[in-house]
């Protein structure tokens, strides 16, 4: 059993890739060392004569980045890692900006740090990653070596031995003993893949930390993306409100005014029946306008939310096309912005379910553990909801939730039931 596993590992592609990487450890290490040595010498020298050497330093740093990039790509290819290229900050204005991008760039100096470690690392990797194999193979080939190059040794008892290997006074000069040596070699061979793997552990740990994007740059990129989303969302919402106000309410108010103007005119002409009718229609129109405004306001800030999430969600449930049940377990009211986001998310989930799920009931649950709130919507519909499905708006909802570092999960096998979970941190 173990033997089979061991044999498999020896011939596994992964093992050979790692051995190759360990082999390359040495040349890459030398290269890195050269680059780093040059850079550091230059840095030290340039402290004295800034004007002359500062322009050259960026070139060397660029060289360091290139070599580090080579190391990174090699590691990605051979070790099966996936370390992305680190993003460099954009250039700031003025001299400070220039220095910041080309000289004081953290990406460059992290590359230098890695390369500085590359040589010792490379030697260690070579020593532990490659040499054991040679060691094992040599032992396995001992019988051959013994037969082809017998060295004659006379021990202190005057006995002549023909062996190529001795361990103290134990001579490997008979066939059984030779086979013993070979067996030892085979054992070591089985352990070799693991030894190689162990030798690469430090590199695996260092690479993402020194040659990959720093945690803060990843976070910044994520924030930039979600910020762009948030701004677009806000602009789209404003446009929607403007359109609803302009096309809906404003036009209706003009029409209402016209009607009252006509009523006034008919009054002067003493056509009282016409006046009566015009005034009645005006009153009707006014009611409709109020209704439209109420809907509009609800889309901006639902009044029910002032009393808390539980009454607000119950109101939503009451207006939902699918009968909905609500369970809210919040130890305390979250901040207003979180409440608003939860409310509108719940509204969207209910609408979605109404449109697409064909469900007969839907259950809304709102929980909190103090750090995060969780909104869960479960319906007994036909399932098959997907984040990237066209027309369900789940993608948009997921993006919006992501803007506040939240998370949306869809569990909807075809045939149902569907469970959608939205998690939001309480502290925005």
């Amino acid at each position: 059993m173990i033997a089979k596993r061991a044999l498999r590992e020896i011939i596994a592609a992964r093992t050979w890739r790692e051995v190759l990487y360990a082999l390359l450890g040495w040349p890459l290490g030398m290269l890195g060392f050269a680059a780093v040595a040059a850079t550091l010498l230059l840095t030290v020298a340039s402290i004295g004569t800034v004007v002359v050497l500062v322009p050259i330093l960026p070139l060397f740093l660029a060289l360091d980045r290139v070599v580090a990039g080579l190391c990174r790509r090699t590691a990605n290819r051979l070790l099966g890692l996936d370390v992305p290229k680190p993003t460099r900050q954009p250039r700031g204005p003025g001299l400070l900006g220039f220095l910041g991008r080309y000289v004081a760039d953290p990406v460059s100096w992290r590359s230098v740090a890695y390369l500085a470690l590359r040589l010792p690392l490379g030697l260690v990797q070579f020593g532990f990653g490659v040499l054991p194999w040679l060691y094992a193979l040599t032992f396995m080939g001992y019988p051959l070596i013994w037969k082809l190059t017998p060295g004659h040794v006379t021990d202190r008892y005057g006995v002549r031995h023909s062996s190529a290997l001795q361990l103290g006074s134990f001579y490997f000069d008979t066939w059984p003993r030779a086979m013993l040596a070979a067996a030892f070699g085979a054992l070591v061979l089985c352990a070799c893949p693991w030894i190689t793997r162990a030798s690469l552990l430090i590199d695996r740990w260092l690479l993402p930390r020194l040659l990959g994007p720093s945690a803060s740059s990843v976070r910044i990129r994520e924030l930039e993306e979600t910020r762009a989303n948030a701004i677009n969302e806000a602009a789209a919402t404003l446009r929607r409100i403007e359109r609803d106000l302009h096309d809906g309410v404003q036009a209706r108010l003009v029409a209402l005014g016209m009607q009252l103007g006509r009523a006034e005119s008919r009054l002067k002409a003493q056509e009282y029946d016409r006046v009566s009718e015009l005034v009645r229609t005006s009153r009707q129109d006014a009611k409709e306008i109020i209704g439209e405004l109420r809907e509009l306001v609800r889309g901006i800030h639902p009044p029910a939310l002032d009393s808390g999430l539980e009454p607000a969600l119950r109101t939503l449930a009451a207006r939902s096309p699918i009968p909905a049940s609500v369970r809210v377990e919040l130890p305390q009211r979250p901040p207003a912005s979180v409440e608003t986001m939860l409310y509108f998310s719940a509204a969207e989930l209910l609408t979605n379910a109404g449109k697409h799920s064909g469900a007969s009931t839907i259950a809304l649950t709102l929980l909190s553990d103090g750090e995060r709130t969780r909104l869960i919507a479960t319906d007994d519909g036909k399932g098959g909801a997907r984040l990237d499905g066209a027309g369900t708006g789940l993608r948009g909802l997921a993006e919006r939730v992501r803007t506040v570092d939240g998370h949306l999960d869809v569990d909807s096998p075809p045939g149902g039931p569907t469970t959608i979970t939205i998690e939001l941190p309480i502290r925005l």
């Binding site: 103007g261 006509r262 005119s265 008919r266």
Partner: protein, 218 residues
Amino acid sequence: MLVVIAEDTAILRGGLIGLLEDEGHQVAAAVADGEALKLAVAEHRPDIVVADIRMPPTHTDEGVRAALELRSRDPKLPVLLFSQYVETQYAGRLLAGGSAGIGYLLKERVLDVKDFVDALERVAAGGTALDPEVVSQLVGASRATSVADVLSPREREVMALMAEGRSNSAIAEALFVTERAVEKHVANIFTKLDLPVSAADHRRVLAVLRYLGLEQGR
């Protein structure tokens, strides 16, 4: 008189029809875009066209373009344009082709039925009807040497009402003075603006155009 209406919002279109018919006019057709307007005018040959400026498909200047095209075919066709906002560039384009039989009102002007009907009849008779809002914004945007500066406050009031297209008697009524007084102010305006002696109507139009900063070549 016979009217053709072009307005894309259905509620407003209905309201306009009702209003005009109340006042004894006849609506030959009520359409919702510029192309339909041109066809309706060709078919019904109305006495006046009442059109919204923003209509489908682009909701920018369909009304203005239709009006200019209709006027190029028939320069005497009275056109009264409506707008939700004051858009001075459209007013300029309209008046550039001559101010006879042109009207530009804001939509809310419709709420004053009497004023609206007055404007309608004035334009149909070949006069001008510019919304006071439009006038004040055009004067504000005027790039030519400000006419308003050389006029006295009273003359500026008279000038503004003249620019709206009101007749001398209407101006007198609005300012609570005699018609004689208004005529004197108008004569002073012509002198201050250094307008050449010619037919009074022509000088009036020139004075208005200069006041609104729309005069060619200045």
